[in-house]
């Protein structure tokens, strides 16, 4: 089943080609790492695929109505914004918004989705805490629970591990892995290639607005690609504890 189909997507901004002729398809149960250097167009690609930026070409999500799209994909922007001191439960409940009409109270099914999302991220005991007073890692978990409560077949997250400590980074990626194994596809943009190599089922590498590689980590992360796209050298090994990828030196 195809959850997202992008064909010949291009985007020009201020006379610069930010995205050039991007095409890819995403099926069920994939955990896709979107990697590339700063300014390569990762965020732009995700927002254009969502239809939140005007672009040429085709994206299946951009063709949906706002309401249908909100039921097809959940989007987690990089900025972890929580504007008001609401409780954790209230925040997670916001994820049900696309499923509710104006003024409609959450139904039993909505309550179950909220409980499931909170349980998934171990937030059940924190439901009455004020979200704005939580630590950065806890806030990230609450916002992820909001996206899960939306119960969409596809989840897109922009640098979900940025600013988190190692244990939160790993547990975030493990949550995504678990989701992917259960059939929900996840697209995450990442800067940590080690995390990407270890947890993702597929990597899409973007450089200068084009896809330069697309495939399983072992095929994508070749020394040549790492050198040409990221200007670094790296140590890559499939060990008995999984894939280990460690960036080493900057290539000049």
């Amino acid at each position: 089943m195809t959850l997202l189909c992008v064909k010949n997507l291009s985007l020009r901004r201020r006379n610069r080609d930010v995205l050039k002729d991007i095409s890819f398809e995403i099926g069920a149960g994939e955990l896709i790492g979107l990697i590339g250097p700063n300014g390569a167009g990762k965020t732009t690609l995700m927002r254009a695929a969502l239809g939140m930026l005007p672009s040429t070409g085709m994206s299946s999500l951009a063709q949906l109505s706002a309401r249908d799209r909100a039921r097809a994909v959940a989007w987690m922007p990089q900025a972890r914004e929580i504007a008001w001191p609401v409780t954790v439960e209230t925040l997670v409940t916001l994820g049900r918004l696309p499923h509710l009409a104006q003024g409609q109270k959450p139904s039993l099914a909505d309550r179950e989705a909220i409980e499931e999302a909170m349980g998934y991220l171990d937030l059940t005991d924190m439901r009455d805490r004020t979200a704005t007073r939580l630590s950065g890692g806890e806030q990230a978990r609450v916002l992820l629970a909001r996206a899960l409560a939306q119960q969409t077949p596809l989840l897109m997250a922009d640098e979900p591990t940025a600013g988190l400590d190692p244990s939160h980074q790993i547990s975030t990626m493990q949550t995504f892995s678990k989701l992917a194994r259960a059939g929900t596809s996840v697209i995450v943009s990442l800067h940590d290639l080690g995390l990407a190599a270890r947890h993702c089922t597929r990597l899409i590498v973007i450089d200068d607005g084009t896809i330069v590689a697309d495939g399983p980590p072992a095929q994508v992360l070749t020394p040549d690609l790492i050198r040409s796209t990221f200007s670094i050298t790296a140590w890559y090994e499939t060990t008995d504890q999984g894939i280990v990828f460690q960036p080493l030196e900057v290539v000049t």
């Binding site: 994909v73 914004e81 504007a83 008001w84 209230t90 916001l94 918004l97």
Partner: protein, 327 residues
């Protein structure tokens, strides 16, 4: 209805009755309420129906408008310090009023004064819209509002400075301070349609404002049409603030303070805060209007002076608290 809404409604009903039985005519409370309902063909019914009733109704309408606009603006801008006057609507409405006083149109044409305030508010809204652009962020909207406010303020001052009429200045001062003295049912009928439409528009924002708790990007991805939300907010604000300024002058701080006070009681949810703030705003303005009549009954204390005297220190305290909380 939640306990908070019931409590607010009860307080509002009590204050409304209090406002009706208070006045220089010294009528016994029960007599005054009876003559309000049953026409006695005399002065008492006239006082009740033509003086006290419109004044109390206007206090409720305008208070509710200002409270709800404050909650909506704060929810949209995700800034607890935002103010309905921030996008320049109050300033433009006041400018429209002052201009109509100065050109003499207000004195010659019936209802030219409130109508020009409405027109001023609309021009302010359109200018803000033009400056902020079709997809402007909260920041551009605030900046545009500040620019419009400054421009409207400067033009109002210029009009004042050039005034040849010795009474014009005092008339303008009276107008800018805000007051419900000598309002008639005509004023109620002028303001009511705009306020009803505006409040309906603002109330429809509840869902979008809740979603905006997560930021504009996340709200849009959850199916919220940000462009429509912004237009609804601006037209709703223009309708209620324009109509309110038109009949009672610029009454400040209601829209600023009420949402602040009520936010903890609605779990900080911006959607639920809208109606709560409408009730709270009505309560605050009615209470202020009663206080104006009780504290200095002979000196005609302006309503805007009192709300600023109550509101400003409370607001300063809130700013300090907000800073301490690291919000």
């Amino acid at each position: 209805m939640t306990r908070l809404m019931i409590a607010l409604t009860v307080v509002l009903a009590l204050l409304f009755c209090t406002a009706l039985v208070l006045g220089p005519a010294n009528i016994a409370p029960l007599d005054s309420l009876r003559t309000l309902v049953i026409d006695d063909q005399g002065a008492l019914t006239l006082v009740m129906r033509e003086i006290r009733l419109p004044r109390a109704i206007l206090a409720v309408l305008i208070g509710a408008s200002l409270g709800m606009t404050g909650a909506a603006m704060q929810g949209y801008l995700r800034n607890p310090l935002a103010d309905p006057g921030l996008i320049g609507v109050s300033g433009s409405a006041a400018l429209g009023a002052v201009l109509s006083i100065q050109t003499g149109v207000a004195a010659t044409v019936a209802f030219a004064l409130p109508l020009s305030a409405l027109f001023g508010a609309l021009i302010g809204v359109f200018l803000v819209l033009l400056l902020a652009g079709p997809r402007g962020s909260s920041l551009t909207l605030i900046l545009a509002g500040i620019a419009i406010s400054a421009l409207a303020g400067a033009l109002t001052s210029l009009t004042l400075n050039l005034s040849p009429n010795p009474w014009a200045a005092s008339e303008i001062v009276f107008w800018m301070m805000g007051s419900l003295v000598d309002r008639s049912m005509t004023h109620v009928w002028i303001a009511l349609p705009f306020i009803v439409v505006g409040v309906a528009l603002l109330a429809s924002l509840a869902r979008g404002l809740d979603a905006l708790t997560l930021g504009e990007d996340a709200a849009e991805s959850m199916g919220i049409n940000l462009k429509r939300l912004r237009l609804t907010l601006i037209f709703g604000t223009a309708a209620v603030v324009g109509a309110s300024t038109a009949v009672a002058g610029a009454i400040g701080f209601i829209g600023l303070v009420v949402p602040h006070v009520l936010r903890p009681f609605v779990g900080a949810r911006p959607g639920r805060l809208l109606w709560a703030s409408a009730l709270g705003g009505a309560i605050l303005l009615l209470a202020a209007d009663i206080a104006v009549r009780v504290v200095l009954p002979t000196r005609d204390l302006k309503l805007g002076v009192l709300t600023a005297l109550i509101g400003a220190p409370l607001f300063l305290h809130l700013i300090y608290k907000t800073r301490k909380d690291g919000l």
